[in-house]
Assembly symmetry: C2
Homo-oligomer: 522 residues x 2
């Protein structure tokens, strides 16, 4: 199946397969150029006559639930990643599937993490055929080495919702790890000993999968309030000792950076936002949980206090820093897609102004608008950017696929997208002639902030004008690139690939923006 395609050139000049895992695929056409024409996926109509009238859907264990759900060879099984590297359920799902004796499953996680590396054994043994979903770490490495039988398919959070909604991916069985649930299947992530915040990544799964299994370690009496997942979509409920370790929901670091360079980058970014007048009363921003991003938020917070202004909303991934802003009245709301620390979890549980969102509300490109394009400014990371402002977020400089996309692509639709990045890492320049993997088209990336100055995308003459004459160190991106290449001793080595495609990167509309090739092992 893996080689049953021909390569075609897409609108950003990348060669991509015209078929992916046996289904035809549309090459990327440009931002907003692909017009969907069909109808949404239509789940089977259920009837209450087939469900217990007392609402008790609890079955003995996960294996029983999978059998009752009709698990069989070749099915697609989904899980969510709100526990990130602390998830204890996905491995158990596929171990149970192995015990049942099914083969060739497609795993469709909202993302996978190093904790899922035991599944490599089940990929090798044939229980799992391939993974469609972001692969952070060992599973990405496995894919990069060409060991997976199918193509990896990386989608953004919004792209995953879009794919399920549009019927590109049909989930046969969804397994939803839930920190609290009732026997009817109502579930949430804010309560219980394993509280991880919310369950938005599993929303599409609950709505569109044929069968939905909720797995919890905190079964309470009906009704489970709030019901972030609605029991009316759920078939079976399974009780387990421990579904996850919420201490491991932390994304990367949730500490403010101590690196002087990164602090400088964060400060320059905040200064830029101030100078361009994006920073004003009622504005909105989204940052991540990395050290630079957190430091940016701290600088911003100081400026907001000085200016006497507040934000209308900030977007999470939430951390203690965003929670402090909310609690001190510096923002009306946190609109949160995932909690990155336990303060985020607590705040979402206690504070009605800390609002749980989903990939449907925030990121789905095939909706009637979404929240991402309403955000005034977003700061995002990247592994590489090129002189045309294209950016890479999934592959390392050695070509290995080690990172997921998350909401990154979706966030590019913000009114101002800034990538605050160091100009080199481990003496390897980050600004390149051409990114290894093109995840985000340059036309959507407005500003690159490095410790050596700020490059503004020439498409954004408004921003260029706004900082003209200010103390902000604006430079051409090529100038920063040249300076860094001198320091690092030239351009970085190109990663060395085989011809074989091992994964594709979907754009937010389901088209293919780039492919990832097998890394040469030598």
């Amino acid at each position: 199946m893996k080689n049953n395609y021909k390569m075609v050139k897409n609108a950003v000049g990348r060669m991509v397969p015209d078929h992916v895992n046996g289904k035809s695929a549309v090459p990327y056409l440009g931002v907003g150029k692909f017009g969907p024409t069909g109808r949404k996926a239509a789940p089977l109509i259920a009837t209450c006559a087939d469900y217990p009238s007392d609402g008790n859907k609890v079955v003995a264990d996960l294996k029983t639930a999978l059998i009752k759900a009709g698990i069989k060879d070749g099915m697609t099984i989904s899980t969510h990643h709100h526990f990130r590297n602390g998830d204890l359920v996905a491995n158990k799902v596929f171990q149970a599937a192995a015990e049942i004796g099914v083969k060739d499953l497609m795993w469709f996680p909202s993302a996978s993490f190093p904790c899922h590396s035991p599944l490599i054994e089940l990929l090798d043994s044939g229980v799992i055929h391939h993974i469609e979903g972001s692969m952070n770490g060992p599973l990405g490495d496995y894919c990069s080495a060409g060991k997976m039988r199918g193509l990896g398919v990386l989608r953004s959070h919004g792209g995953r919702y879009q794919a399920v909604q549009d019927g590109e991916v049909h989930i046969d069985i969804a397994v939803i790890a839930a920190p609290t649930a009732d026997a009817f299947g109502n579930a949430n992530g804010v309560n219980g000993p394993s509280a991880c915040g919310l369950l938005g990544f599993a929303l599409a799964d609950s709505q569109y999968a044929d069968r939905v299994i909720v797995v919890t370690d905190n079964l309470i009496d009906f009704p489970c309030i709030p019901w972030q997942i609605q029991g009316n979509y759920v078939d079976f409920v399974v009780v387990m000792d421990k579904i996850g370790d919420p201490a491991k929901i932390i994304s990367g670091t949730t500490e403010i950076t101590k690196s002087p360079d990164r602090l400088l980058i964060a400060e320059l970014t905040a200064e830029f936002v101030k100078q361009t007048c994006i920073l004003k009363n009622g504005f909105s921003f989204q940052g991540g949980a990395g050290g630079t991003s957190l430091s940016f938020a701290i600088f911003l917070e100081e400026m907001m206090k000085e200016m006497g202004i507040k934000a209308r909303f900030v977007r999470g991934g939430s951390t203690q820093y965003l929670v402090e802003m909310l609690e001190s009245g510096l923002t009306d709301y946190i609109l949160d897609g995932q909690t990155f620390d336990l303060e985020g979890v607590r705040s979402m549980r206690e504070n009605p102004r800390h609002v749980n969102t989903s990939p449907f509300t925030s990121y789905n490109y095939h909706g009637k608008g979404n929240f991402a394009s309403m955000v005034d400014v977003v700061v995002l990371g990247a592994t590489e950017v090129d002189v045309n402002f294209n950016a890479n977020v999934v592959t390392h400089s050695d070509g290995r696929l080690l990172h997921g996309i998350g909401g990154w692509q979706n966030c590019l639709f913000s009114k101002c997208t800034i990538l605050p990045i160091p100009s080199f890492r481990d003496r390897i320049p980050v600004i390149v002639d051409e990114v290894t993997t093109l995840c985000g088209p340059g036309e959507l990336i407005d500003v690159i902030v490095t410790e050596r100055g700020i490059a503004i995308n020439p498409l954004r003459q408004d921003l260029i004008k706004a900082v003209a004459g200010s103390s902000i160190p604006i430079r051409r991106i090529e100038d920063i690139q040249n300076e860094v290449e001198e320091i690092c001793g030239g351009k970085p080595d190109k990663p060395r690939f085989e011809d074989e495609v091992v994964a594709v990167i979907k754009w937010v509309d389901g088209t293919i923006i780039d492919s990832v090739k097998k890394v040469k092992s030598d």
Copy 2:
């Protein structure tokens, strides 16, 4: 179109048309007997590329919105009834449609009220072809007189969700009156000068309609929190001076009854619930907003205090009485489908334990279960019951169709369904040989409580045993009937109908349980 059908006998022996408004229809097969086989309705896939990236969907006025939504002859236009008799939007929608010059629209309200009687003129003039939805008062009378061109179709709240979800009714344009909204279309009913509580009756409309228009008199900055209606489903937002009068959301009376007979009925009902041990710690109940029902809740409340127990949840229609129970700790939660007074609105706004529900969570029979069957006891009204415990809730003793179904049919799935009713009204017996219109099959109706004693459905031997030897006045339903007929001077006159069918009553699964015929005029 109206006469293009033949009559067939259904599982309760009622003659019903095999086609309704040009579509084939399934006669009622019995409780839980109709097995749906298809897939849910599949709405068109949208794309953010077609919506303003700043999220601003506000257009000049309702007429503009309808034109942009592509209104044309024969379309189906929906509205909700959370304002009940205080709605100011539906009339304006069809006045605008008349100005635009379209004809033959199908109006698909979640219910209509006397305030909508100006639409009779538009039914006469051809702008509106017919109404599918409960018709309280003048519009029902108009239908009963055979003046509507199409058949009236009455569905329960759950049945309406089911019909939209299953694609039986395709909504072309949904118009959602929203007491608070942002320019993106996020909307709620709890805030703003016209706060009416919630917007659950419009949920299906938002999810499945081709075009969705939110109309508000309180436009606020994004984000409108909570978003009971999600802007991601919304096409256009219209601002209007005043969308409704929340003082008129009151259903019937929200005063405790002063009638000694009705007080007795309420007390007997509460006694029955206590005697059968339904009343225990962690139980649940649902009542309505009528005087008897409210008095029942008060009696129950006293008993709960005496017994030192609390409910896990009570279902609303909420009133000040349920709110008092919540605030005094007699119930953990109110699970509310509509607020029947302004105290209900306030409580839902302020108290996270006063939870807004929708016909999807509570009543949709074509889901993976719903809340209705988990309720321990429900008390409901009826215009007539017969000796087989079948009940009528839509037509009067004179045969006129004057009432909607509401959630009545859905609630029959409670673990114990009680109809506390006076044995006669205006000297007309309420217990009859055969109900005029069969809305609920006797097998789901467990207990009839009258001021002359309580009749238990012989199918519920468990309940009969539970009260054996108690002071509860249990009688055969025929004995109560006979006694009342003696008082009233015989059996009630049968209503006099023409042969022409003017409306049908859907069961919760979309099959037809009965038809309503044109009332003889003479």
